[in-house]
């Protein structure tokens, strides 16, 4: 096996000319250079088991549906590690878990929960109900009370009656069922928006009829577009799950700003 020669391996490749380098030198001044990236090996002086990798999760519950949206940007300090990370796991035909926070804990937690859900199905020969996942997730998080999963979970699905169910958690397992939720990097930007357009908080008018899945998806898109404007950890794209009674779960992608 041999290597194809780089077209411009001698004398410098075409895309990196001295002309190209000049503006770069001007752009990155001494001020920018003082930012010490944490991940350049030798500068680490204490082992830090946690990292914040961004991730924003939003869920809106309806009368017979739930819409979940989660972004796909994986970041570390000021770096974007990838624009297409998956921070969600489909646990059953009617239940999705999406999580922001420390990605190493997020992936591990998702594997653990997925395993326990599969065990449940083998043991009891039925799909686990959303409220049972909710309790089990709470226990799982509490099991690491003294070395927590740095993970911010929103669990969404349909309940036993087919109503939209949204559960929101803290890192050590406290949880609550709510009509809608947002967690992670963009939560401070998104929650007030949801309070206004979904919760109708402090408004004198009333919602015109029940929220539809389509309307909820649009709210989710707007929320992420808005958050991406002001929060550097939100961006690239979102995954949108629509779980509705009597219909197979749908997953869609929606691009948002990449900068």
């Amino acid at each position: 096996m041999a290597f194809a020669a780089a077209a411009a391996s001698s004398g410098g490749p075409a895309f990196f000319s001295s002309a190209g380098a000049a503006p770069m030198a001007a752009d990155i001044g001494p001020a920018a250079a003082t930012v010490v990236p944490k991940s350049v090996g030798i500068k680490e002086h204490r082992f830090e088991p946690y990292d914040f990798n961004g991730g924003t999760v939003l869920a809106i519950g309806g009368k017979d549906f739930v819409v979940v949206a989660v972004d796909t940007r994986l970041s570390e300090d000021y770096h974007i590690l990838t624009r297409d990370v998956n921070r969600s796991v489909v646990l059953s035909p009617h239940c999705v878990l999406a999580t922001g926070g420390c990605h190493t804990d997020v992936t591990t937690l998702h594997k653990v929960i997925d395993m326990r859900v599969k065990d449940y199905k083998h043991d009891h020969e039925v799909d686990i109900e959303t409220h049972s996942v909710a309790q089990m997730l709470g226990n799982t998080l509490y099991g690491r009370r003294f070395f927590p999963y740095y993970a911010f979970n929103v669990l969404s699905g349909l309940d036993a009656e087919g109503k939209g169910a949204v559960y929101t958690y803290d890192a050590v397992g406290s949880f609550e069922r709510v009509p809608y939720a947002c967690q992670g990097a963009g939560q401070r930007l998104i929650i007030p928006y949801l309070d206004n357009v979904v919760g109708f908080k402090s408004r004198t008018d009333k919602p015109e009829g029940d929220l539809t899945p389509e309307a909820a998806v649009n709210i989710a898109k707007d929320a992420f577009i808005t958050a991406a404007e002001r929060q550097i950890r939100v961006g690239d794209s979102i995954r949108i799950f629509t779980i509705a009674r009597g219909v197979a779960m749908k997953e869609a992608r929606f691009a948002i700003r990449e900068d």
Binding site: M1, A2, F3, A4, A5, A6, A7, A8, S9, S10, G11, G12, P13, A14, F15, F16, S18, A21, A22, A25, I28, G29, P30, A33, T34, V36, P37, S39, V40, G41, I42, K43, E44, H45, R46, F47, E48, P49, Y50, D51, N53, L74, E76, H79, L81, T82, D84, V85, C102, H103, T104, T107, T108, F147
Partner: protein, 243 residues
Amino acid sequence: MAAAAMAPKLSASSSTAKELTTHPIVTGSSVLAVKFAGGVMMASDTLASYGSMARFPDVQRLRQVSDGVIIGASGEMSDFDFAMRLLDELRVESECAEDGAELDAGEVHHYLTRVMYNRRNKFNPLWNQLVVAGTKDGKPVLGVVDQIGTAFEADFTATGFGKHMAVPQMREHWRADMTEGEARELLEGCMRVLFYRDCRTINRMQIAKVTATGSVVSPAYSLDTEWSLKSFKKEASPEDGSW
């Protein structure tokens, strides 16, 4: 940047407590990798630094796990050796089964993720950023995992200083349908910039590739450099130093 100048501490433990890797000592700098049409290509230099000292100039940081999988490592070189030993034990055990099955890149990446996470949980990490390349069902696979177990796949990636210096170039020039030659051109371009700008790099690099037909790691070689560029020639003065 003062921290960068500090020599690694080698203090003898006064207690009998177990010594953990609390900071890396002999380290490798960037690893770069890109997918191209039909495979993955990876590049790194061959330097293992001891703090700011260019201590070991001929260390292979790109290694073959099997015909179909290669790994590149940044960070602590002894931890990298240990991780490779784990993979080798796994490979030997698998070969004893004589079932013809081999771990593919996705499986190796996943395994390393679990190793890294479990070591992090013991506060005894393997201090590396590992880049795993291979193919699965004929499609290129490129995975990254770091010392706390953060794992992801990407079309192109860089570790260490390359995250700052190489990723912007990759973003500009990477295409999914790149030829092998174009991929190499991109990686060598990035390596050249890193040699110009990263103080923990030498001009002695290796390149490796994996395609559906197998993998190969090149011997070490040097890149042509150009030091007459305007920004390099700028006169240093106390007021207006070249950067």
